[in-house]
C-alpha cells in the first residue's frame, strides 16, 4: 500500500481515538465469549464475523501505530502495517456488522464492537474502500439538501399525493402540513409514504400541532461510516426544526435515525438543541395513555409479536412503550424469546440491506430470528424499524413464514376509534 494511504488511515484512527476506543483496543482478552452473541458468527462460523476478530483487525493497526509495545515487539501483538489482505478482511468484517451491540451486552468488559466497526469504516474510507453503495446513498441525500430548489416542489407534490391517497383510503380529509412555523412537532419520516400515512392519521386524531419534514430520517452517512456526512444529513431536519421553532422532533419508526438524532446529534453539532427528540412510539404511547386518541382494544384479532430493533431497544432504551401500544390494541400478544436487551438482531441493520454483496450472510444470519418468530405462532409482526422490516420481509419470503410485517403505528391507525 502507498505510504500516503497508510498515513491517511492512521490519521483517521488518530482523529477518531477516544478513551473508550483506546480501552477497547487495550483490554480485550480475546476470550471469545462474544462468539455466541453474534447472529452472523452463529450462522456462519466464519472467523471474520466473530466480534473479537472484527476488533482485532483494527487493533493490529492500532498496535502498530499507537503503542510503543506494538512498535517494539510487533510479532507479539500481531501489530502490522495495513496491506491489501488486511483491508480486504477488514472490509468484509466491518461492513457486514449490523451494529446491533448484542456482543457488547454479553462482553464482560462491554466492548462496543459497533463503535469499533464505526471507526473501522472511517479507516476503510481513508483507504478508498468505503462501501460504494452507502456512499452514493449518503451523497444523494446531501445533494437533495444542497439543491432543495430543484426538489422542493417534487417533494411537496408527493405529499399532496399522499393526502389524496389518504382521502381515498379513509374517506376523511387528513392534512399533511408542511413548513408550519410554530408547530409543536416536526415529524421526520422516510421517503416512502408508508411512514407518513399512519402518523398523519394518528396526529390528526390526537389533534396534534405538527408539521412534516421535507427530509427523510434515514442516514446513510452514518451507515457509510462518515460522521461528517452523517451530521450534514441530520442537519437537514435539525435545521428545519430550528427554523420552524418546534418543541420536539419526532422520528419515525426507523432505528438508526432515532439513535442518530437522540444519542449522537448534539455531540456532533456541539450544541444543545432547543427542542427534544422522541421516537414516534413514545408519542403514540402517551396519546393512548392520556386519552388523546381512543383505540379499540380488540381491533387486531390475530396473534401479534414484536421485534425489538437493536437501535431502539438495546441502544435506544425504548422497550415498554411499543409493547404497551400493541397490547392496548391486540389481545393476543406473544413476546419473542429472548427479547428486550438480549433480543437477537434480525440481521438487517447497519445498512446491510442496501449492500447486495452481503446478501448471503445477511439471509443466513436471520436464522435465529426466524426460529424465534416461528416459536411465537404469530401471524403479525410489529416492528418500528425500516431496515428490520425489509430484512424480515425477505426472511418471511425465504422461509415461508406467512407473516404480515408492519410498523406499530400502522396497527394503531387501524385500531383508531373515530371521535364522535
Amino acid at each position: 500500500m502507498e505510504k500516503k494511504t497508510i498515513e491517511s488511515m492512521v490519521g483517521v484512527l488518530d482523529a477518531r481515538m477516544n478513551r473508550q476506543l483506546k480501552q477497547y483496543m487495550d483490554i480485550c482478552a480475546r476470550c471469545a465469549i462474544c462468539k455466541d452473541a453474534c447472529h452472523q458468527y452463529v450462522a456462519t462460523g466464519d472467523m471474520k464475523y466473530l466480534p473479537a476478530r472484527r476488533a482485532e483487525l483494527l487493533r493490529q493497526i492500532y498496535r502498530k501505530y499507537f503503542t510503543k509495545a506494538g512498535q517494539f515487539m510487533p510479532a507479539l501483538y500481531e501489530a502490522r502495517e495495513p496491506d491489501e489482505n488486511l483491508i480486504d478482511e477488514l472490509y468484509e468484517s466491518t461492513y457486514a456488522c449490523t451494529g446491533c451491540r448484542r456482543c457488547t451486552y454479553f462482553c464482560p468488559f462491554s466492548i462496543d464492537t459497533g463503535w469499533i466497526t464505526a471507526v473501522s469504516k472511517g479507516v476503510l474510507i481513508a483507504a478508498g474502500r468505503g462501501n460504494e453503495m452507502l456512499g452514493q446513498l449518503a451523497d444523494a441525500a446531501l445533494f437533495k439538501a444542497d439543491n432543495m430548489d430543484m426538489f422542493d416542489s417534487i417533494i411537496v407534490d408527493g405529499f399532496k399525493d399522499v393526502e389524496r391517497e389518504l382521502r381515498e383510503e379513509t374517506g376523511r380529509d387528513v392534512a399533511i402540513p408542511v413548513d408550519v412555523a410554530g408547530a409543536d412537532i416536526l415529524y421526520v419520516a422516510l421517503a416512502g409514504s408508508h411512514s407518513i400515512k399512519p402518523a398523519a392519521v394518528i396526529f390528526d386524531a390526537a389533534g396534534a400541532s405538527w408539521t412534516l419534514s421535507k427530509f427523510e430520517a434515514a442516514n446513510y452517512g452514518f451507515f457509510f461510516g462518515d460522521p461528517a456526512k452523517a451530521k450534514l444529513i441530520a442537519d437537514r431536519f435539525m435545521n428545519e426544526a430550528k427554523r420552524l421553532g418546534v418543541k420536539e422532533v419526532v422520528i419515525t419508526e426507523c432505528g438508526h435515525a432515532y439513535r442518530v438524532a437522540e444519542m449522537f446529534y448534539e455531540a456532533w453539532a456541539k450544541e444543545k438543541m432547543p427542542f427534544k427528540v422522541r421516537h414516534i412510539l413514545e408519542v403514540i404511547d402517551d396519546y393512548i395513555k392520556d386519552g388523546r386518541i381512543t383505540v379499540d382494544p380488540k381491533a387486531i384479532t390475530q396473534r401479534v409479536t414484536y421485534h425489538d430493533p437493536c437501535q431502539i431497544g438495546r441502544n435506544g432504551g425504548i422497550y415498554e412503550q411499543p409493547r404497551d401500544i400493541v397490547t392496548a390494541i391486540a389481545p393476543d400478544f406473544v413476546d419473542m424469546t429472548p427479547n428486550r436487551e438480549t433480543q437477537w438482531c434480525c440481521g438487517g441493520g447497519g445498512g446491510i440491506v442496501a449492500m447486495e454483496e452481503f446478501n448471503t450472510v445477511r439471509l443466513a444470519s436471520g436464522g435465529k430470528k426466524v426460529e424465534q418468530i416461528r416459536a411465537t405462532g404469530a401471524t403479525i409482526l410489529a416492528c418500528p424499524c425500516e431496515n428490520c422490516r425489509l430484512q424480515i420481509e425477505e426472511l418471511d419470503k425465504v422461509h415461508d413464514l406467512g407473516l404480515r410485517i408492519v410498523p406499530v403505528m400502522e396497527l394503531v391507525a387501524e385500531a383508531l376509534v373515530p371521535k364522535k
Binding site: K22, Q23, I27, M47, L76, P108, W268
Partner: protein, 240 residues
C-alpha cells in the same frame, strides 16, 4: 545469593515492581488524557438512581452475570481463576507479616495445615484454569483469534503456578523461612536465610520469581490492563 538468585529473587523484584507500578500509572494516565467519546454509547436498560448505577457497575465488573449466561464454562473457569489468584495473593501476605490471630486460633501446626490446603487448592485451581485456556486457544476454534501475547501470558502464569505448586507440594520449607527472605527484600538487602542454604527450594523459588518478575513487567503492556480498564468500559451499562 548467587547471581541468578540475585537477578530473580533479589534485584529483579524491585525492577518488576517499579515497572509494574510505573507502567500501570502510565497506562491510566494515557487513558485519562484521551477525551471520552462525545457521543453517548449507552446500553439499556439502566438503573435510575446513582447508587443503583454504582452497584450495577460493581456487579457488571466483578461478576458479569450476562457473560455467565452466554458462556458458562469460560466464565466459571475465569471466576475460579480470579478468586484463586486473589486467595493466593492474600496467602502470600503471610510473607509480609504472619497472620497472628489465625495462628493463635489454629496453632502453629494447624496454620501450616490450613495454608497447605488453601494454598494447594488455589494453586491447583489456577493451574487447571490455565491449562483449560491454553487448550481452548490451541485446539479450539479460536486458534486464529489468538495472538502470541495470549500464549505468552498463559505461559508466564503457568510458570508462576507450576513453580509455586512445586514449592508448596514438593518443597519442605514453611512460611517463616520464606518470610525471612521476603523481609530481607523489604529491608532492601536481599538475601536468603541460613536455613535455605544448599536446599533445592532455592532453584524452585528463583524460577517462581523469574516468572513473577516477567509477568509483572509485562502486565502494563498487555491486555491484563483490563484489571483497571474494565471499570471504565463497563460504565456504558450504568453511566451517563
Amino acid at each position: 545469593m548467587d547471581w541468578f538468585s540475585y537477578l530473580t529473587s533479589g534485584i529483579g523484584v524491585y525492577v518488576a515492581l517499579v515497572v509494574f507500578t510505573g507502567g500501570m500509572a502510565w497506562r491510566v494516565w494515557q487513558w485519562s488524557r484521551t477525551p471520552r467519546s462525545p457521543v453517548r454509547l449507552a446500553l439499556y436498560p439502566k438503573p435510575k438512581t446513582g447508587s443503583a448505577r454504582f452497584g450495577k457497575l460493581l456487579v457488571d465488573t466483578f461478576v458479569a452475570p450476562q457473560s455467565f449466561r452466554i458462556a458458562p464454562a469460560v466464565m466459571i473457569a475465569a471466576m475460579l481463576f480470579h478468586l484463586a489468584a486473589l486467595a493466593a495473593f492474600f496467602g502470600h501476605l503471610r510473607l509480609v507479616h504472619e497472620f497472628d490471630p489465625l495462628v493463635g486460633w489454629l496453632g502453629e501446626g494447624g496454620m501450616n495445615t490450613f495454608a497447605a490446603w488453601s494454598g494447594g487448592a488455589a494453586g491447583i485451581i489456577m493451574m487447571a484454569a490455565i491449562l483449560y485456556w491454553l487448550g481452548r486457544r490451541t485446539f479450539g476454534a479460536f486458534k486464529n483469534l489468538s495472538v502470541p501475547e495470549d500464549y505468552l501470558l498463559l505461559v508466564l502464569l503457568l510458570g508462576i503456578v507450576v513453580m509455586g505448586n512445586h514449592l508448596r507440594f514438593v518443597g519442605g520449607l514453611h512460611a517463616d523461612t520464606y518470610r525471612a527472605w521476603f523481609q530481607s527484600l523489604l529491608a532492601l538487602n536481599p538475601s536468603f536465610p541460613a536455613d535455605m542454604a544448599g536446599r533445592g527450594e532455592i532453584w524452585a523459588l528463583d524460577w517462581h520469581m523469574l516468572f513473577v518478575d516477567a509477568f509483572l513487567i509485562y502486565f502494563p503492556f498487555s491486555k491484563l490492563t483490563h484489571a483497571i480498564g474494565a471499570f471504565a468500559t463497563n460504565l456504558v451499562r450504568s453511566g451517563e
